[in-house]
Symmetry: C2
Subunit: 247 residues, 2 copies
DNA sequence: AGACTTTTAAATGTCTGACAAATGAAATTA
DNA sequence: TAATTTCATTTGTCAGACATTTAAAAGTCT
């Protein structure tokens, strides 16, 4: 592992890249111990703080973990699906909030992905996932629920639907799409009437999943997508009216 | 922004979390300048190296960028879709390689997501994306192409299909799924016969996209998924035979 | 007055050296 | 043998210093 002395980039970034490449290429395998910070400093011919900054970069990506003490050090970390979920959600959330992605675009992406899971979920759904979906539907029909709690339950419902496909790779990919849109959904104020519509569509989805009727699931999801967009547009136009009145 | 003195975690990790939370919650907005390292060190009552380690963690996630010189400093970074693509691909690749995800599971996820894009892509496809797909098909039918080059072209073809949906959020989500599976595909040796089958399916997909025939696209993708799995299984069983012969 | 050059202050990047704290192995003792 | 202590190693943190970069501000010339 070497670094390019001609590069303009920070030393710590170059060192992080060198180690990251070694991990990705398989030169460093899971649970393998990296040289100590002092040794790395020698190898790369930099000071220890510089090495440490590089290691912190890698730690932020869950590529390594560190342990203090004798026989401690930095170890190549096996990225768990849970770690990846978290990173995925953080990145997706910021991506949406910082790039003024329209609600429609985010919504389209989210439901397209979810419809991709639905047929698989309908085939494989376990009693467990079905029970979770029913429980969340029940919660959603409770009166007096705040909009935030309603949205959170909505997220839980859809994650159960996705997890029902029994494919961790799909669950990982979908986690970002579903969770990241929640802040956008939270901006919608759900009237009693709109909650009723959503709950009935959720019920339709759960019934169709239970009956393994992929076509019905697909239709219900499409309806839910259309209804979500409609609600968002109503909120947007109301806000617009208010603004123009104030001006 | 405060840190918990009782926490056992590293100071730099706590500080990174505090700043990250401030960014996610919107307390720090895009392009806003953070206090200088010296000021942050004062505020959090730690030394400058510790602050720097925290900032490097955030930089690794593309949450901030730094600039040297007077009036430089750390700024909240607008995460671009390209940055997110890269992170997504790195994480997905490692996730697959480190958690012995089976080819079938990865393949199922990838094609499920791609089928989700296909109808939208069929509706919106531009001449540009269609041309890219045709060009990659042409490259794939050149004899003498290495397996790696064939796979790379395969990735380019499928990315064009996904990008054709004109939804950057979808493209971002799919980037990981499509690119991360490439190393697994690279392990397959493509015979002339199998390349022929794949090229014909790609042609079928391109034709169907051009004709805006969503059903045909879906069917062709399903066939391609089945064929990919079949090829992978053949490779796996051959390898198994070889191993048992050696033993 | 305007355009160009020089100075300067502020900030990050890097290094050195030091000490604290944790941790498991080895040596010691009951 | 089992429990305890010692010890070396390694990360975590700190203080202070210097190098480098950068853009604003001051100065200079036409």
């Amino acid at each position: 592992m070497k670094i390019d002395p001609k590069s303009k980039a920070d030393l710590s970034a170059q060192i992080a890249k060198a180690i990251r490449d070694a991990i990705i290429s398989g030169d460093l395998i899971v649970d393998e111990r990296l040289p100590s910070e002092a040794e790395l400093a020698d190898q790369f011919d930099v000071s220890r703080p510089t090495v440490r900054e590089a290691l912190k970069r890698l730690a932020a990506q869950s590529l390594i973990r560190t342990q203090r003490g004798a026989f401690g050090g930095a170890f190549v970390n096996r990225i768990a699906f849970e770690d990846a979920y978290g990173q995925q959600i953080t990145t997706s959330t910021l991506l949406l909030s910082m790039n003024d992605v329209s609600f429609d675009v985010a919504c389209e992406a989210r439901f397209a992905l979810e419809r991709a899971c639905a047929p698989i979920s309908a085939m494989r759904r376990s009693a467990d996932h079905l029970a979770t979906m029913r429980a969340e539907i029940h919660r959603q029909s409770q009166p007096g629920l705040t909009d935030e709690a309603f949205c959170a339950s909505d997220v839980a419902f859809h994650r159960a639907l996705v997890d029902g496909a029994g494919n961790p790779v799909l669950s990982y990919q979908l986690a970002g799409a579903i969770e990241a849109i929640e802040p956008l959904m939270n901006m919608i104020t759900f009237s009693a009437r709109s909650r009723e519509v959503i709950v009935s569509l959720h019920t339709e989805i759960a019934d169709a999943i239970e009956a393994r009727d992929t076509r019905r699931v697909d239709e219900a999801l499409s309806e839910l997508e259309a209804y979500s967009k409609k609600l968002a547009h109503e909120v947007a136009s109301q806000r617009k009216d208010k603004t123009s009145t104030n001006t």
